[in-house]
Symmetry: C2
Subunit: 222 residues, 2 copies
Amino acid sequence: MVQTPTEESASLPKVPIPTLERLTTYLRCLVDLGASGVQTISSAQIEEHTRISAAQFRKDLSYFGEFGKPGVGYQVSELEARIARILQIHKLQPILLIGAGNLGMALAAYPGLEEHKFRIVALFDTDPHKIGKRVHGMDIIDFSQLGEINEVLQAQIAILAVPTGAAQAAADTAIQNGVRALLNFAPAPLKVPAGVVVRNVSFLQELAVLSYHLTETEKRGT
Amino acid sequence: MVQTPTEESASLPKVPIPTLERLTTYLRCLVDLGASGVQTISSAQIEEHTRISAAQFRKDLSYFGEFGKPGVGYQVSELEARIARILQIHKLQPILLIGAGNLGMALAAYPGLEEHKFRIVALFDTDPHKIGKRVHGMDIIDFSQLGEINEVLQAQIAILAVPTGAAQAAADTAIQNGVRALLNFAPAPLKVPAGVVVRNVSFLQELAVLSYHLTETEKRGT
């Protein structure tokens, strides 16, 4: 969820978060189809490939204007370019990754980042045993150097893959040095100034939501 | 997002997913407060601790009936117990973790699982170099043994921390052996039978949503 101190509706744009999330699924599908030579596609084919209903797909696109032609479908390359532009991933987005533990390593190796124009440009840690080691083509850099490094890199997005107790300080340092969007994996709410966006990923939340749905499907007897 | 082949509204219960997600934040806050001896709390204090607005907190609780007393506030222990029951985490939920790579290791070490009554009871991998090794108090078990192991453990939730290409087969095996809820970290849509719930966690989606919001705040000039 996007963290906001007020009612969600008051501070977020009108496009629902699930719609934005699904856009990346469509984009991935379109990239794959384009690569295999497909030029036009129908919403029914989108459903087949993504398992998201054709109706949902059309509804999601409707937030952003007119797409496709009745009876013809969608131009794969055009739709791909437009979704990429909506998500601002038509240009490369440099990302700082803070924390070179197991989670940081998993994120550094995550498939498909580059394909979606995200690039982890620097990896930081505070552990002297890790600093200087090379992983996935990057040196692990001393976290205290984040300021001077980001003066050059100018990244606006940082991923926090640090222990709970270190999350706020890592966020503060990142923000002081030009970062304006944080993806936070620590189960701790962050205090950030206005104009900085935080997105929290909590495994606990995911499990809790799953647990709730599990019970709901039990009740329905499905 | 919860994966569903139809319109979201048609297949999900009426409680919004963000509400369910925030419940775990409240729960964590209440557990902490209870541990430090606090007995009653106001929604303003909840806001102070969680950085979720008091209004949002009251709205979230309203989905589940009456809570708290005007002018008195909420009994910490009672509210904690009720939220835990809503999320079905008043009883221990055993979880199978499939994939002992970096992500699997990070999940196995994730703080706060037990506190929320989730317990990873078995860790599986297919890599002969990993099978038999001990991590976080668990032996890594050969994935081919999942069936006989879960006959004993009876876990209904599985976490998939496997490469994209292995996700569907891992899901199929888990479902054949009693799993009815999947937390999927692979960027691949899963095909599952009716009655099985899937929740997909995609780092790409998170980054894309963040990227979109970053642009939105730029446009607003905040």
